[in-house]
Symmetry: C2
Subunit: 180 residues, 2 copies
DNA sequence: TCCTTTCCGAACATGATGTCTGGAAACGAA
DNA sequence: TTCGTTTCCAGACATCATGTTCGGAAAGGA
């Protein structure tokens, strides 16, 4: 969203394309949006699109400038970016859902997450862990997301720890908040 | 991976297709795999594929039977599925990376996650939180994954809480393990 | 005003998806 | 082994999205 050139035509084209993409992403998933859709909404020629961006991904990158700004603003405490970010998202719910829900938009992640969530939910219910700091749904999603992220890190680590270690760690990290 | 029919031809075809997909997923990302790739590796005719599965997604679903089995096995404690799952993954690293890394395979999620990770890493470093229960990389990924999941839940909630509340909750959940 | 850059639309090659055909092959049951 | 049924196959096909290329028209800046 930031001006790079002095040529008004360039500015107008790029801005129209970025705005069009974000607007479309508020309505449907990113991968359901074609280049044709974008240039139609931006009212820009096909060749003009490719004159500015080599692909849809390149346009996406350019379109996320505002979010980057919010996240990289200096702050004092850990997760200091959080509150401004949450307020910002609240103002743009549809776009927020598109961006933060995007991890669900791939068939694989969708299946994995839902399998994980189901397993975790069962465990929580069975263990009578009902004194949670947030509704069961939310805690389940939190736990599944955290679990997925850690396994992912584990699989990419240069010297991966033993399953037993990692398993103990999982409990310490994820279940820490279940005992208020 | 489970027999449904008594006709050997059907069993062979379905098994070949499921195995081929998982095998390909150990090599590259799911969305980089075409139906043509699958049927080539399975050595099966194109029309045969569509006789059994309506799409690549349908085949994926059928192929995840084994994982479902591991996750839904009964157990006692919360996260009881974890250790068997981790052991299982360790035996199939490539496939594990494909499945659990899948959330990163969409351009949007990839950008969001990396922006989040960067912000969190900065915060942790600045706050001198170096006594973490796991390496900084891992904790960063854990925090980012958890944050993403909670925001996602928040945006879909029927009665979403206030940003201030959620922000407090985030700290309680995510940073709980930073004070050992 | 004048030179340069950008825009446009249309056409094109490429490659993936999903459907459909008729004949060949494999199956299970008798 | 035979026989009726089901599945498999190759290939052709329509459809749709991507990314490239072109020359002429329009808009920009100096």
């Amino acid at each position: 969203m930031v001006a790079t050139t002095s040529d008004r035509r360039v500015r107008r084209s790029q801005n129209a394309l970025q705005t069009a993409l974000l607007s479309l992403m508020s309505e449907r998933q990113y991968d359901q949006i074609t280049v044709q859709d974008v240039i139609d909404r931006a009212d820009v020629g096909r060749s003009t699109f490719y004159a500015h961006y080599s692909s849809k991904e390149a346009l996406l990158n350019a379109s996320l400038g505002e979010l980057r700004t919010v996240l990289t603003s200096p702050n004092e405490q850990p997760l200091g970016f959080s509150l401004p970010l949450l307020r910002h998202i609240e103002q743009h719910r549809a776009l927020g859902q598109a961006l933060f829900g995007s991890a669900q938009h791939t068939p694989v992640a969708q299946r994995i997450m839902s399998l994980l969530e189901e397993a975790i939910r069962q465990d929580l219910l069975q263990a009578r862990l009902t004194q949670l700091p947030l509704p069961l749904d939310g805690f389940t999603k939190y736990a599944a997301g955290a679990y997925l992220a850690i396994v992912q890190w584990w699989l990419q680590a240069a010297e991966p720890m033993q399953p037993v270690e990692l398993d103990r760690l999982m409990r310490r990290l994820i279940l820490a908040a279940t005992h208020p």
